[in-house]
């Protein structure tokens, strides 16, 4: 559709040609800015200790080695942290989706009695936040400190996501549901077998938003967990970057001559990126779709 501009047959003006050249140059620079840092850490994680510390690694591994990766996988709690994050993301996303859908559906029906009151409750709790300290006191009172429940509870429903789903449900044609109602189907039956299948694009988008939220969250892990057993991937990664002293001790003790601290930091970053990058085609498909559905509006 971007070729259509030329269909009038008017040749490109000089100003337009200049514009196109500028576009190519600037967008190429920006694309490189986004990609090269990732390539740099990737290269560092596979380069020898001497190459990393002397700063000779650019965007390709120097003296390629796999010891750094081996160290992270064997000598650290990386795999355990990965497991924790997988559990939180998997169960968190499922729970959040169920709650989001079951909340959005009644609220999307104009005839639903009490709709305005419930929507008002959600809007109030969206625009006014009790604060970090009171939320912390609630989690402590519930007795779920240092458990998976404390990491899932804060994202149980993200209001913004619920409103996206609700708005989408509102736009579905009423007629199909009506005919099911005449056949005597219950509200749950209609939701599960008619409304949800008609809404797969928006549900996929929202599921993706939840999964990325759970996967990337650092703050709730810092606030609500304290044991190594409950450490999530983000917390592990942060601790690795900021507590280099323990790494040095372990490197010396474990006889890892070809592994450097900077190499380990790079390797941890790379390893925690793998799932996001692996799912990227899926993520980007549904996220971009989400924009067109109208995610700018809550």
């Amino acid at each position: 559709m971007f070729m259509k501009k030329n269909e009038t047959g008017i040749p490109l003006e000089a100003s337009e040609k200049v514009m196109i050249v500028i576009s190519y140059i600037i967008m190429s620079i920006l694309a490189l800015c986004a990609i090269l840092p990732i390539l740099h850490v990737l290269s560092k994680s596979f380069s020898s200790a001497s190459a990393v510390t002397s700063g000779s690694v650019l965007f390709w591994p120097v003296d390629i080695q796999f010891e750094t990766m081996k160290y992270v996988l064997r000598e650290t709690t990386f795999l355990h942290a990965l497991k924790n994050t997988l559990i939180v993301t998997f169960f968190g996303t499922i729970i959040s989706m169920v709650v989001t859908i079951t909340t959005a559906y009644p609220l999307s029906k104009p005839s639903f009695k009490g709709r305005k009151v419930f929507i008002m409750l959600y809007i109030i709790s969206m625009v006014f936040f009790g604060g970090i300290v009171p939320a912390y006191m609630v989690v402590r009172t519930l007795g779920i400190m240092d458990t998976f429940a404390a990491l899932i509870l804060p994202f149980f429903i993200v209001h913004f996501n619920m409103f996206i789903v609700k708005n989408y449900f509102e736009g579905l044609p009423e007629s199909i549901e009506e005919s099911a109602k005449i056949d005597g189907a219950s509200d749950i039956r209609i939701l599960v077998s008619i409304v949800c299948p008609m809404s797969t694009p928006v549900l996929a988008t929202v599921a993706m938003l939840y999964a990325v939220n759970y996967w990337n969250n650092y703050f709730h892990a810092v606030m609500y967990t304290n044991s190594t057993a409950m450490q999530t991937l983000q917390l592990f990664t942060y601790n690795t970057i900021s507590n280099t002293q323990t790494i040095v001790e372990r490197l010396v003790a474990g006889n890892y001559a070809n592994v450097s601290i900077d190499g380990i930091i790079a390797a941890v970053v790379v390893l925690s990126l793998i799932p996001i990058v692996a799912l990227y085609p899926l993520v980007q498909r549904y996220m971009v779709q989400g924009i067109t559905i109208g995610s700018v509006k809550g």
Binding site: F2, M3, K5, E13, S15, M19, I22, S23, Y24, M27, L30, A31, C33, A34, I35, P37, V41, T53, L58, V98, T102, T103, Y105, K113, F118, S125, V127, F128, G130, G131, I132, V133, P134, A135, Y136, M137, V138, R140, T141, L153, P154, F156, D187, L191, N217, Y218, F219, Q234, L235, Y238, I241, I265, A266, V269, L273, V277, I291, T292, V296, K297
Partner: protein
């Protein structure tokens, strides 16, 4: 409602109630469906509102059977904690930091995705367009911790940037501990992570513009810049305004996790914002009352900003944020 108009008010209400009862019996499943969400609202959104009273009490977390019970058992002290808060130099500092850092972010970062979207739209090679678009928003999906790891690797004391600087004969820069450059680092990394995603949002707005407008403009001999100004930017204007209002409305909510991950004690003077200070005082140093008081201040201002933003949105664009 018209059909009830002739009936008396009392009859009217009886009928409404019995109708409501019948409706609820028929659709009881819909009400059951709402329970999990309401449970969340009560536990994680409304119960903390009760917790706000900590700001007005001499709170001791061990005064009761649990932290919430302790609130009821603690003595009221009035506005003592607020007086302590507003009298401290830290309050002004974190307030100013919050405003300055966000102002920088809006000033420097807000126009970039708009320009990017316009430029990206000029690229006619579809494959290249797609590639560039996909590349620039990869970082959006990275966590702040990972982003920190990447930039620590690039801009740490012995990172590639400093190696380059020293090779060229310049002094090394301590990006993570130099108070002169730390805010710049925050703005830059925010840009790295968010610009691509915002570009995609604006690009969606551009694709909604009627192509025939450009054709007409070309026939009239309008230059490229005039076309961009009069057609592209005008067509994007409502999205631009909406994004700006949202940015200003959510000023107090953004940047918290980024700063929490990036900062350290050496840059508190320039990077400590309201939320990080609440976290450090309220939970780190267990000054629960002060943390709650500042948190309440933050919530009230945020509330005014967001409701204000929504009012402006309704007036200008005839749409609501929520």
């Amino acid at each position: 409602m018209k059909m009830f108009a002739l009936k008396s008010k009392a009859e009217n209400e009886i009928q409404m109630h019995s109708q409501l009862g019948a409706y609820m019996r028929e659709h009881y499943l819909m009400y059951i469906m709402l329970i999990p969400g309401l449970f969340f609202l009560i536990v994680y959104k409304f119960l903390p509102l009760y917790g706000i009273t900590i700001a007005f009490k001499d709170y001791s977390i061990f005064a009761g059977n649990n932290p919430l019970d302790a609130i009821a058992k603690s003595e009221w002290v009035g506005l003592q904690h607020f007086e302590r808060l507003f009298a401290s130099s830290s309050f002004i500092k974190v307030l100013l930091n919050t405003l300055i850092i966000n102002a920088y972010k809006i000033l420097f970062l807000f126009p970039i995705p708009i320009i990017c979207a316009i430029l990206l739209n000029e690229i006619r090679n579809k494959v290249y367009r797609k590639l560039a678009q996909t590349a620039i928003y990869v970082p959006y999906f990275f966590s702040w911790v990972v982003t920190f790891g990447i930039f620590y690797s690039l801009m740490g004391t012995y990172g590639i940037v400093n190696t380059g600087l020293s090779a060229l004969g310049f002094e090394r820069i301590s990006f993570f501990s130099d108070t002169n450059v730390f805010r710049g680092l925050l703005v830059f990394t925010e840009g790295w992570k968010e610009v691509g995603w915002n570009t995609v949002i604006y690009l969606a707005a551009i694709t909604g513009i009627d192509i025939s407008l450009y054709e007409a403009a070309r026939v009239d001999g309008a230059s490229k810049l005039r076309q961009i100004w009069h057609i592209t930017l005008t067509g994007m204007s409502s999205t631009i305004v909406l994004m700006l209002i949202l940015k200003v409305g959510y000023i107090l909510d953004t940047g918290f996790e980024q700063i929490l991950v990036f900062y350290n004690a050496t840059v508190y003077d320039v990077a400590d914002v309201i939320q990080t200070y609440v976290y450090r005082m309220g939970l780190g140093q267990s000054d629960f009352a002060l943390g709650t008081a500042l948190g309440l201040f933050n919530s009230v201002v945020a509330f005014i900003l967001i409701v204000g933003a929504n009012t402006v949105c309704k007036k200008l664009l005839h749409r609501s944020i929520w």
